[in-house]
């Protein structure tokens, strides 16, 4: 399996797009820091650093909270779409390169081949998370100088702990969506179709999750048409098993009005792991049974 993973890494490490995605945290950090340094040199006053939480997410405050808000939370959408594209490419590129026959006639079984691709995707997600973490810590330290924040002691420790946890959950979900993209790409042998399906599924998941969260946390009120009630009941039932709902449960502050106290964090973690497992299993199952005629 390790050799198969090495082969995957070698294949994709020579693709510029994959390198761009993998190092996107560095590029974004350089852009942000560069811009702030220029402004600082130009004499712009950045004001006071926020000492408390910087939002409704559990990422802490201080310079590290602010840096996390920028480089982890703010641009997570870029990391996410980067990983989704990577997943779709990993799932379908062998067909585009016409190497699938060669690969499938090697000694390694098809499930092992697919698992090695999944492992590569996980490696990519971990690498990006690592890059994001390094950039975040660098940015946090730099902000101390820019904002002249000095020693913020316990605040920094709290922010780093919360930030790392947020990083774990957000990249876990990024990996989940990229696994889905990989499965869709294996199924449809197309990067474009996989990405379109990803947007559809993620949007539907988000809508139902929001509806369910609002209903379960009592934010929805009672002033809605009667015909909507069955739909809301369905959303209340299924939303705790959806991805966006689970991610929100794990990453928002308990004071967030959409936080649902009745759903424990363990359940949300299990839901996310179950989705990851399901998508990987589906990709293996599709690839294992397929006639390769390309």
């Amino acid at each position: 399996m390790l050799n198969l993973l090495r082969a995957e890494i070698l294949k994709y490490s020579r693709l510029k797009l994959i390198l761009f995605i993998a190092f996107s945290p560095v590029l974004i950090t350089l852009l942000v820091v560069g811009a702030m340094l220029i402004l600082k040199v130009a004499g712009v006053d950045f004001g006071n650093i926020p000492v408390g939480g910087v939002g409704l997410l559990e990422i802490g405050g201080g310079t590290f909270g602010l840096a996390a808000n920028i480089i982890i939370v703010g641009v997570n959408g870029i990391y996410l779409i980067g990983l989704v594209i990577t997943g779709a490419m990993v799932g379908s590129n062998e067909y585009g390169w016409h190497t699938i026959k060669m690969l499938a006639t090697r000694e390694a079984s098809r499930p092992r081949l697919m698992l090695s691709k999944t492992l590569f995707l996980l490696t990519m997600a971990v690498f990006m998370a690592g890059m994001a973490a390094l950039c975040w810590l660098f940015m946090g330290l730099l902000f101390k100088a820019i904002y002249d924040a000095g020693d913020t002691g316990n605040l920094d420790g709290d922010a780093i702990g919360k930030g790392l946890l947020y990083l774990l959950f957000s990249f876990g979900v990024n990996f989940l969506w990229s696994s889905m993209a990989m499965f869709l790409a294996v199924r449809f042998k197309s990067v474009v179709v996989a990405i379109i399906f990803y947007f559809i599924v993620n949007t539907l998941d988000g809508i139902v999750s929001s509806l369910g969260e609002a209903a379960l946390s009592g934010q929805l009120g009672t002033n809605f048409p009667n015909w909507l009630e069955p739909l809301i009941n369905v959303a209340k039932f299924i939303s705790p098993f959806l991805v966006n709902f689970s991610l929100n449960q794990l990453t928002v502050t308990p004071t967030n009005r959409n936080f649902v106290e009745s759903v424990p964090a363990v359940q949300s973690i299990l839901v996310l792991l179950a989705w990851i497992g399901l998508y990987i299993w589906a990709a293996v199952a599709v690839f294992r049974r397929r006639d390769i005629t390309e």
Binding site: K11, T105, E107, D291, I292
Partner: protein, 398 residues
């Protein structure tokens, strides 16, 4: 039928048993029975779309058969895939590797995929194929011949006992074809079994010792090239009319001739194309002096065309020496498609086309023969005249 296939205790390297593949209602491969013995250079010969690649795909487990099974090294690919593929390398259809990687990186990827980590071996394989100088160049910049060679180099990394090549010379220039041909010969000389598919008859005849001919998904002939062609060779003799019957009687008892039969003014002695001198001596001893002795050795191309009932386009197929206007036996009417120009072409000069062979070669019992009466195939076309009437004797062709 080849005796070595039916009676040998040696396990065939490849053996397919009633292998079939159906897409919707169309059988792409129908009841294919193939046998490839250790050390063979086996050619699967057939026109484009005949089902060659589908058979290879089923042999390699890329495609699941609708029915039947493919055994490699005595094991079913469906149940013992890992063990089989550890000893097999294949290049299916066009040579494809990762276009954005260099030749060297491609070798590394292939080596990792096969569990090989010895870089010396990779260098050796590249060197063997003459690609050391271009190892740093991207695969997409390679010529087709170089791509083919790199794929073969990658295939050799695992030291396979069986190498499967699907149309290995497709798109290559003559020099590339020659180098692949030499390579196949050298692989065979190393004791490896080579299974190649091709629609190029000359290529197959030059490198293969055993062939199977497939058309419309059905194996219509199979055996050792030498035996297949020998089964179709004959010699034609013209003797004075008063000695005709006596000559037939004399020739019928010869041990090296399968039969001697009249064909118009000629006598056809089947299976004796290389025994002209002996035939002449035998007849001379009987006081008969033939005025013509015409040996007929079929090429694989002629054999293929005859068993697949194909006509020969004008200009593309000059008759080989000694293969001109010859009699066709009235007692064995040829029931396949007559040989002649395609519709719309002017008739060629008399004697331009060779006549169909006398009788069909059938590799195995139950295998269809010349008549095209194999399962799933359309009925044989109506018999049509060739420059006249194919059933008439040589005097009609004059």
């Amino acid at each position: 039928m080849n005796p070595d296939l039916s009676t040998s205790s040696v396990t065939p390297i490849v053996s397919t048993e009633a292998l079939s593949k159906r897409y919707r209602n169309n059988f792409v491969v129908n009841q294919a029975n193939l046998k490839v013995m250790p050390g063979d250079v086996f050619g699967l010969l057939g026109p484009n779309g005949a089902g060659k690649t589908t058979i290879i795909r089923m042999m390699l487990g890329l495609v699941r058969p609708t029915s039947g099974r493919a055994l490699l090294f005595g094991s079913d690919i469906a149940t013992d895939r890992k063990r089989i593929l550890a000893k097999t390398s294949a290049i299916v259809e066009a040579p494809s590797l990762y276009p954005h990687l260099s030749g060297w990186d491609n070798m590394k990827v292939m080596a990792y995929t096969a569990g090989v980590t010895d870089e010396t071996r990779m260098r050796q394989a590249l060197g063997q194929m003459g690609l050391s100088d271009r190892a740093r160049d991207k695969f997409q910049t390679y010529s087709l011949g170089m791509k083919q060679r790199l794929c073969i180099a990658a295939a050799l990394l695992t030291d396979p006992q069986l190498i499967i090549l699907d149309e290995p010379t497709n798109g290559l220039d003559p020099a590339g074809i020659q180098s692949i041909r030499e390579l196949i010969k050298s692989l065979a000389a190393q004791g490896r079994t080579v299974f190649l598919s091709s629609h190029l008859l000359n290529e197959v005849q030059q490198v293969c010792n055993r062939v199977a001919i497939i058309e419309r998904g059905t194996i219509i002939s199979q055996g050792l090239v030498e035996e297949m062609l020998a089964s179709q060779n004959n010699i034609q003799l013209r003797v004075p009319a008063e000695d005709f019957e006596k000559a037939i009687e004399t020739l019928q008892g010869l041990e090296y001739a399968r039969s001697a039969r009249p064909a118009g003014e000629y006598i056809v002695v089947d299976g004796a194309a290389s025994r002209g001198a002996e035939l002449n001596r035998t007849l001379a001893e009987a006081g008969i002096y033939p005025s013509e002795i015409i040996p007929r050795h079929l090429t694989l191309e002629e054999f293929f065309l005859s068993v697949t009932n194909r006509s020969v386009p004008p200009g593309a197929y000059p008759p080989p020496p000694g293969y001109g206007p010859v009699p066709y036996p009235a007692q064995q009417p040829y029931q396949g498609q007559a040989w002649g120009p395609p519709p719309g072409y002017p008739p060629p000069p008399p004697g331009y086309y060779p006549q169909p062979p006398m009788g069909g070669y059938s590799g195995q019992p139950g295998q269809p023969g010349l008549n095209g009466d194999f399962p799933g195939s359309p009925p044989p076309p109506e018999q049509s005249p060739v420059n006249g009437d194919s059933q008439k004797g040589p005097e009609n062709h004059a």
